[in-house]
Every structure is written in C-alpha cells, then in structure tokens.
C-alpha cells in the first residue's frame, strides 16, 4: 500500500512532527494518460516551509489533510500513457510519498541517461542547480571578474553558486557555519569562507573582501544581508533567493546598512527559479557540461526511508546538512 505524508496542521514557528501525518493512499487503477511512479529519491527544500502557511504566494499553500508535494525522481512502474514506458526514469513534483500516480496536469520529465547518479536530478541538474544558475547569472547578472558573496555556501543551492561562479571566472566568498563546512566550501573553489559561527559576519567579510562585493546571493537574510548592504560596491546586485534565518520565527530583521542602497545604487531583486524557465535549455546544456566534466561537485545528506522525511525537512533549519538534503527510498 502506497503511503504519503499529509499536512495535518499548520505550524506557527518551527514545524514539528505534529504538523505531519503519514497515511495510506487509496489504490485506484490508472486513469487515461496517467502513469504510476515508484519514487526512489525525495527532495526536501527550504521553500516548502512557506507552503505550510496558508498565504497566497508564488506556489499555492499545501492543503490541510492533503498529501505534501515536492521534487522527486523515480521509475515508471505502470503506464497508461504512450509517452512513458515501464522502466523510464522521471523527475516530478509528487514527492513526500513512496508511490505517485501522475496525470496530464503535471506530467513528469523523462530523464536522459547522462551517466550521473539519479539524485543529481534533484541537485545540480534540478531545481537546486537551476536556482543557483538563474539567480547568479540572470538575476544578479554576475560576470567574470565580479566579487561574489554567497551565504549558506555549504548548502545545496549555495554550493552550486560557488562552483558556477568559479567556473565563470569570478572571485567567491562563501559563508557557512563551522570549520568543517568552510573547509568544504573552499574545496569547491571559494577564495575565502566566512564562518558565521566564529564571529560577526560583517567583520569577517570586510577582511575577506577588502574591495567590497559586486554580487550577493542571499539564502539566509538577517545579519548576512546587512553585511552585504554594508560592503556593496557601486552598482552591486543582490539576488534574493531565501531568508532561512527568518522562515520560522518571522521576527523583524535589523538592517543597519540598508541606507547604502542609495549611494551604492544597489539593486536587490527577489526571484523564483520558475521565473527563468525559458532559459532551462541553456541551463541544462551548460550545467550538463560541467557535471559531465567533473566541474560540479556535490554532497548529499541522506536520510533513509519515507518515515524519515519530516526529520530530513527539520534538518534544513538546524544547519545540520551539508549540500543537498535528500531522502532515499
């Protein structure tokens, strides 16, 4: 019997296990055009926290009593659609479950055999990599020679940003929590890494980037964003991807240097990777080349089994993961 995590109640603040409930899915025969997919890898991502709130946003909120959704890769085990054969590997958004029935409203993407591990399609070749690529190159318009600062640089998106920036000839300063994570960020090619657990971000960033920063790729908000305001060079561009510092507590962020927006003519732009979906071809071509050429390393923090899904999700907010957080089924 297939099972799925359902949203039982909406969290206030940090989500807890009480907000989720695992339930059997009713077993129905496939309808016209549908396929049945056995999921092999499930993704947890910070943006899912936003979907747990009942607010209008770029993606609709999860519905109470309904299955959760999210990125997943799997294998077609039954097909009522001539476009899909049993055995096809696919990527789709019916995650948080071990088996998915998918219809015409959201057909899966068939995955070519690129000789890469399947889970790469949830990482550098998937939403994670596309978010990093579009944010850095399209939103912030980063170019060779720019000095780039990226927060949560040991995270899934951040570690991709570091490597894309280096592949493109930029100077990169990452930020991560702890010496181990910083060591990995430098392994990825970063010119310097700010350990935000070791002291104030602003002071460390000023030392690592004495000329200031041209581009800031924000995954966390708060102190990191303010340090970027403080040290932005003229015409700096900020791509605002996430603010994980405040997803759960919603407290006000103290911005001491936001006024530098004016003299430095900073441009701050929020984005969602789907805004740049028309560039997916370019992304797949360039990222595919880097992945195939060994120019995009990745690390995964892997939890095992569907039951571990909420724990994997909570881990995103405790700083527990390095690289992409995944659940293997």
């Amino acid at each position: 019997m297939a099972r799925a995590w359902h949203l039982k109640s909406r969290p206030t603040g940090m989500p807890t296990l009480d907000n989720f409930e695992i339930r059997d899915l009713s077993a129905a025969p496939l309808g016209e055009g549908q396929v049945r997919v056995r999921n092999l890898w499930l993704s947890v991502d910070p943006y899912m926290r936003g979907r747990m709130n009942d607010v209008k946003s770029y993606v609709p909120p999860f519905q109470l009593g309904e299955p959760m959704q999210g990125g997943a890769v799997g294998e077609v085990i039954e097909s009522n659609n001539p476009g899909f054969s049993v055995g096809d590997k696919v990527m789709h958004m019916a995650g948080w479950r071990d088996e998915a029935v998918i219809g015409a409203e959201s057909m899966p993407q068939k995955l070519p055999d690129m000789g890469v591990p399947l889970e790469t399609w949830l990482g550098n070749l998937g939403l994670t990599g596309a978010t990093a690529y579009f944010g850095l190159l399209k939103v912030a318009e980063a170019k060779a020679g720019d000095i780039v600062f990226v927060s949560a640089a040991a995270g899934a998106v951040g570690s991709a940003v570091v490597q894309i920036a280096k592949n493109k000839g930029m100077t990169v300063i990452g930020s991560a929590g702890g010496a181990d994570k910083c060591a990995w960020v430098k392994e990825l090619g970063a010119d310097a890494c700010v350990d935000y657990k070791a002291g104030p971000v602003l002071k460390q960033l000023a030392e690592a980037a004495p000329k200031g920063v041209d581009v800031y790729f924000d995954n966390v908000g708060g102190e990191h964003l303010d340090a970027a305001f403080a040290l932005a060079r003229d015409w700096a561009r900020f791509a605002i991807c996430g603010m994980i510092d405040v997803y759960n507590d919603g407290k006000p962020q103290e911005m001491k240097y936001i006024i530098r927006t004016i003299p430095a003519r900073i441009r701050m732009q929020g984005f969602i990777f789907t805004d740049y979906i028309q560039h997916m071809g370019e992304f797949h071509q360039e990222m595919g080349g880097w992945v195939a050429g060994g120019k995009m390393q990745s690390r995964e923090t892997v939890h095992e089994g569907l039951d571990a899904m909420p724990d994997a999700f909570f881990g995103l907010f405790s700083g527990g993961n390095t690289g992409k957080m995944l659940v293997k089924l």
Copy 2:
C-alpha cells in the same frame, strides 16, 4: 563683502549651528573664463546631510573649513567668459553663499526665459523635479495603471512624484505628516494620503491600497519602506531616493516584511538623479510642458537671507516644510 557658510565641524547625529560658520570670502578679480554670480535663491536638500560626513559616496564630502555647496540660481554680475553676459540668469552648485565665482570646472547652466518664477529651476525644473521624474519613470519604470506609493509626498521631491504619476495616468497614494499636508497632497491629485502621524503606516496603506502597490518611491525608509515590502504586488519596483528617517540617527531599521522580496519578486534599486543625466533633454521637454500647462503645482517654504540658511536646512529633518525648502537672498 561676499560671505559663505563653511563647514566648521562634522555632526554626529542631528546637525547643529555649531557645525557651521559664516565667513567672508576673499575678493579676487575674475580669472580667465570665470563669471561672478549674485545668488538670488539657494536650495537646501536632504542629501547635503550625507555630504557632512567624511565618507566616500557618490559626491565627495564637504571639506572642513571650506565653503558648503548646493544648488543655487542667480544673475551674472561680472563675466570674463564670452558665453555669459551680465544679466544672464543661471543655475549652478555654488550655493550656501551670496556671491559665487565660478570657473570652467563647473560652469553654470544658462536658464531660458520660460515665464516661470526663477526658483522653479531649483524645484520642479531642477534637481528636485529631475529626481522625481527619473526615479519614478526610469528607476521604478512606473507606467499608466500602476498603483504608486510615495513617502514624504508633501516634500519637494514627493510632491513632484505625485503630480508626475497623475499626469501619467497612475493611481497615487502619498504619505505625509498631518492633516494639512495630506490635504495638500490630495489637492495635487493623489487618490489617497496616509497621515503617518495619525497611526501606523501599514494599516492605513492597506486600506488605501487594498490591491497592494506596484511602485514605491522611497524618501524616508523605516516604517514606510517596511509597509511597502508588506504590500508590494508581484514584480513591484522600489525606487530608493532617500531615507530621511535615518540620516541623522543611523539606528538599525526593523524590516519585518523584507522577506516578501522573494515571493513578490520585488526589485529595490537605489539611485542618484545624475545616473540618468543622459535623459535631461527628455525631462526638460516633458516637465517644461507640464509646468507651462499648469500641470505641476509647487509650494515653497521660504527662509529669508543668507543667515537663515542653517535653519532652513535643519527644517528638512523636523518635518517643518511643505514643498521645496528655499532661502531667498
């Protein structure tokens, strides 16, 4: 004997009279190419507060012991330059003094006779109007049908923004301090006015703009900026012109809604009017037409005499002025 206000010391926080000193200027014969101008109107503007600090910025700081500078209009009384005749009306940046000697490094702009009061060249036809025009139309790319929120809407720049927006077919919500100022903002054509002294900005703005705002023209920062973050519609554009709330105290600004940058894909851009100097021709043509056609009202708060210059300047930060703050000589 000509006199000029000099910077005596740098303020910490709100400037006081102790920071200024009025001194005689040495009377020297004109050098090659120079002109002597008797100033008739002097401008005080919020950006001058930034120039009192010793920090690198888009304009160099005022130098200790040297005369202050700023916008001024006057009449040529002596010319050693074939391009200028005695009697010419000119605009230039050697303000804060009653008489100016100006050379090739910063030649004055000759003013055409448009049948408008001379001081208009320090207001809607000058830096003030150009700042409003470029910020609204170039930085925020506001267009007909947009819902525009502008703070300090009874101020010099803000009142120009209100009228440009209405001339261009936008919906406009202004913000000003007190019922009298709000009444004037509505006289200028604003569809609604938030009185920030009467209650929280966010609540009032939400009532005035139930659909949210497409454009925010920021002159004040702080609570107003945060309210704009809270109520920004998708793809909203913020033109950040000033943050007068924090020029003097430098305290952190609490941003509770900046995280909406992501789902609403807000673009926030700081600017200085000189960034758009290549569009001055377009500005003069369109603004000139509006001024001539009675479509740009203005109010001035006028102080009399050079000795009143610091008081006029201080008035910018106490909310004392309606419209453009000027000193008449």
